[in-house]
């Protein structure tokens, strides 16, 4: 699964970092999210990233199926 973040929307609440620090970090200057890994493969990581998507107050995160091969 692909993890993406919309930095325009992110308000730096850090809910994602609290939920899955292995995937998310925050920029030291403006607190916006840094996605450390672009994909989640194992079930546990996917579960946590899903939770982070749900908790993110600004709906800045998305978890998507990789698109069809082109």
């Amino acid at each position: 699964m692909r993890i993406t973040a919309d930095l325009e929307r992110c308000v730096g609440a850090g809910q994602c970092v609290l939920t899955e620090p292995a995937v998310f970090d925050q920029n030291d200057d403006d607190g916006t999210v840094i996605v450390r890994r672009a994909t989640a493969d194992d079930d546990e990581t996917i579960r946590r990233v899903r939770e982070a998507v749900h908790l993110c107050p600004s709906q800045a995160l998305t978890l998507t199926e990789p698109g069809p091969p082109r």
Partner: protein
Amino acid sequence: MTASPVLPLKRSCPYAPPAEHLRLQQQEPVARVTLPDGSTAWALSRLEDIRTMLTDPRFSSDRQRDGYPLQPPGRPRAADERPVLIGLDPPEHGEARRAVVGEFTIKRMNAMRPRIQEIVDDCLDAVLAGPRPTDLVPTLALPVPSLVICELLGVPYTDHDFFQSRSANLLHRSTPAQERFAAAQEIREYMATLIAEKAKTPGDDLLSRQLGKGADHRDLAGLGFLLLLAGHETTGNMISLGTMTLLERPEALAALKRDPAVTPQIVEELLRYFTIAEYVTSRIAVEDVEIGGVLIRAGEGVITLANAANRDPAAFTDGDTFDIDRGARHHIAFGFGAHQCLGQNLARVELQIVFDTLFARIPDLRLAVPADELSFKDDSTVYGLHSLPVTW
């Protein structure tokens, strides 16, 4: 048809939202309500509806718009008063928040742990050296967050009595408009002077760093005011309410003493269970929007019954039960959407350290009065305890 309820209502049980809020949630999740000034607004009480509303840009946070609900009566405004953070909409809000949010990242909050620990230990040293029984509100619950926010902002702690009295005045619903105005004016003037001094001799603190980034002095005074106010009362009330709750629930307390790893879970459940600042997330519609099947028209106010929402059966099984194992992180005690509490992770760290340290250092702490004699802040914007007499 029942007459529309007049909000705000008081809690009848200290551990539960007003019964009327829960009735609305079941029977009229988007309800027409009357406000003390005779105007009407909508009240939302389902978690999903509130999340939807708070992430919809067609609802504004601008408290200066006519019809913004639950503003203190006859609110006089200072001539140079400009909206800060909580009162801003995009795109100004995003810019203003981004300028300061780097001060509140998880990393930074964790880096503050040793200093917060020191502050908590100092307060508890004084408690242990003092008389028994003692009131934990002035000796622990208020000073810890006050010291922390003063230090973060670079406000001399010697001035904190001044802020504490003024901010209590501001938050109390029955404070006469004139007095409220005077209190706000005094804090504003204090901030302006402090910022002028920091502009000359910067320190290692948030206000100085913002000045260094070129912040406008007046805007910064407003921000300092807001952070100071937000940092004084809220966490303090959660400390006293949380301590009371743990003292009344031996199983939860035993779990906390056994394994500090469960403390964050307990803190999260306490936040959900009390939801001490529920009306702060009110909004005003700037366009016609349908929420939960009801059309809310432009110009109409919307009040969020966040305390009821944090017990919404659709989101929390058996929400009236205090359950440290539930995993309550999707509560909206810190709000939701772009305005979600800036200081939430600081609050989490403070609460975790306070509860861990308090019960480790005073393991046989107990209430010094029967629980039903405790007095609650039923008439304040932020719910809490007036005093918490304890002994050991």
